[in-house]
């Protein structure tokens, strides 16, 4: 289950554009780690490199190491499909499969992994929906399309889909940015519950959110337009928000950016 991530000397590129420069960072298991920073600083790019989604974009390349409990997910013999099965991801906008029922959405990952047993799928479906705090709301309409739910429910459905395969790590790319405050609160509560079982990495633009949900915060910045993003510092969330080590971080957090 929950595994630790060690990023070592990670450089990320989109074609010739150097997007992220030399990131080294350790992410502890059973913790919430937040990535914060201004737009374009590469925090989402780093997140996407943790389950090899970065390379899905044409021309995108990776240099450096990402160790999952000591094993490099970029090793030549590693299958990216396997990596993505053990590292789940939730996206900025809820993206349930619109043609699938709620039930099929939840167990989609399991079906891809070859699970066919009806009773097992039923069991995982209920457990995951309960885990995502959605069960009570949808238990009577599991056969209805997932696209019919509200935005917040859809996002929780996507979280249920991600945790159904019991991943080692859960990556969240601004999971609340398309949601209203009440749904946001529901997701934040859920994140706090999920960290008992999973290693969670969340990208957020909302600093209050980072302060509320995360144990550790990593601040990314870029020195100018067209320059690569860098990791400025990473520390306990409390320390970052009360007494950051660098002036840059303090300026960003207190709103004196630039």
């Amino acid at each position: 289950m929950a595994k630790r991530i060690d990023i070592k000397g990670l450089n990320l590129y989109y074609g010739r554009f150097h997007a992220v420069d030399n990131v080294t960072l350790s992410i502890p298991p059973r913790n919430v780690t937040a990535f914060i920073g201004p737009s374009g600083c590469g925090k989402s790019t780093v997140l996407r490199s943790l389950n090899r989604m970065h390379e899905v974009i044409p021309g995108a390349t990776v240099d450096g190491k990402v160790l999952l409990d000591g094993e490099d997910i970029y090793d030549a013999g590693v299958d990216p499909v396997e990596v993505r099965r053990t590292i789940g991801m939730v996206f900025q906008r809820p993206n349930p499969f619109p043609t699938m029922s709620i039930r099929d959405n939840v167990v989609a990952g399991l079906k891809l992994a070859g699970v066919r047993s009806k009773s097992r799928l039923e069991e995982v479906c209920e457990r995951s929906l309960r885990g995502a705090n959605l069960w009570e709301e949808v238990k009577d309409r599991l056969d209805r399309p997932g696209g019919g739910l509200s935005g917040g429910q859809q996002q929780r459905l996507c979280i249920a889909r991600a945790i159904a395969v019991q991943p080692d790590v859960l990556l969240m790319d601004e999971p609340c940015s398309a949601l209203d405050p009440i749904s946001t609160l529901a997701i934040e509560d859920l994140i706090t519950e999920l960290k008992k079982d999973y290693t969670i990495v969340i990208v957020t633009h909302n600093m209050q959110q980072a302060a509320r949900v995360s144990d550790m915060t990593a601040f990314f910045n870029l020195s100018g337009v067209g320059r690569p993003g860098q990791l400025v510092e990473a520390d306990d969330t409390e320390k970052i928000f009360s007494n950051p080590g660098k002036k840059e971080t303090e300026d960003y957090i207190s709103g004196r950016f630039g």
Binding site: N51, M53, V56, P58, V81, E82, R84, R85, G88, M89, F91, Q92, R93, N95, P96, F97, P98, T99, M100, A108, G109, L112, A113, P145, G147, C158, R161, A162, V165
Partner: protein, 326 residues
């Protein structure tokens, strides 16, 4: 209902207030409405024309119009039926569709999901170029080049799978390949650009977030295509195929050149010869001097018109009823 002056609960709603209208809008609205009406009007007029010309000949028909395999309009006698025209038309078109649909989907998926970007563009252009080849050229190529190439395959199917009705002996000789089989394969090639280009467009529009959602769950590329791209594009793909079917049903010259004329009624085999609605009418075009024999062909055209209409209606129904958009 009309005027919408009350809401569903029966409360009256305020009337629309008069407002300023720009002359440009009025003129443009008139022009677009007129264009819209013109197309409806021409469809109706074509239908009325076919019906008016067909009725006297149908009344004078001595054979069963729907069930007779013969089409006699010469020698002062009218005894025509459309059974064989219908069989040959539907058989060749459906056979063409059966071949073209999977191939077109393969091409469309290759172009949108697998081909490197530099290759996809010229390749798509080549596929579209197929649509620019005149059908008379397809016909010549079909009978002179492709028919003889297919002949051994047709013989093998006939010899080994002849127990299956569609591969049984037909009413013409296989030699030379002047059969529905050849016509169907050539039609399939003609349908490819139609089905491919529409399918490519719809597959292309699969939202990136759907694709990434599937990949992030640990889907392989093919599984991603199966769970997101194909369901997203399915209705468009089916509608495109029906569009292609309509095209195949009406194809004239290529089929006229390829199909050998048959001495006997159809045996409902792919190795039959004969005429489709369109090729029958075209073959008789020089004889349209007297009203009654001409009306016989017009009534055949009317049936083709209705057939195409039904196919298009089915396409609309499929495309409209099962569209899933996020």
């Amino acid at each position: 209902m009309i005027g919408a002056m009350s809401d569903p609960l029966g409360n009256s709603l305020p009337a629309r207030r008069p407002t300023v209208r720009r002359p440009g809008d009025t003129i443009f609205q008139f022009l677009t409405t007129a264009s819209g009406l013109a197309i409806v009007l021409s469809i109706v007029l074509i239908g009325v024309f076919l019906l008016l010309k067909a009725v006297p000949s149908l009344a004078a028909d001595q054979a069963n119009f729907l069930l007779s395999p013969n089409f006699v309009t010469t020698g002062g006698k009218l005894a025509f039926g459309i059974r064989d025209l219908f069989v040959v038309t539907v058989l060749s078109s459906v056979f063409a569709l059966v071949i073209a649909m999977p191939v077109a989907m393969g091409i469309a998926l290759f172009l949108t999901q697998y081909a490197p970007r530099q290759l996809a563009r010229p390749f798509a252009y080549i596929v579209d170029l197929l649509a620019a080849v005149p059908s008379v050229v397809f016909g010549l190529w079909g009978i002179k080049v492709f028919g003889p190439v297919l002949e051994p395959l047709e013989r093998w199917l006939n010899g080994n799978l002849g127990w299956f009705p569609l591969f049984a002996n037909g009413n013409v000789s296989i030699s030379g390949g002047g059969t529905i089989f050849t016509a169907g394969v050539v039609l399939a090639v003609m349908l490819l650009p139609i089905i491919t280009s529409v399918s490519r467009e719809v597959f292309q529009q699969t939202p990136t977030m759907q694709i990434e959602g599937a990949l992030a769950l640990g889907a392989t590329r093919w599984e991603m295509i199966r769970t997101t791209v194909i369901p997203f594009g399915r209705s468009g793909y089916i509608a495109a195929s029906m569009l292609g079917l309509g095209r195949a049903l009406g194809e004239t010259v290529a089929v006229l050149i390829i199909l050998r004329s048959a001495p006997e009624p159809s045996r409902i085999s792919l190795f039959d010869g004969g005429y489709t609605f369109a090729s029958k009418i075209a073959s008789a075009a020089s004889e349209f001097t007297e009203a009654l024999p001409t009306g016989a062909y017009i009534s055949a055209g009317l049936v083709l018109f209705v057939l195409t209409f039904v196919v298009n209606a089915i396409a609309r129904w499929i495309a409209g009823g099962r569209v899933h958009r996020p």
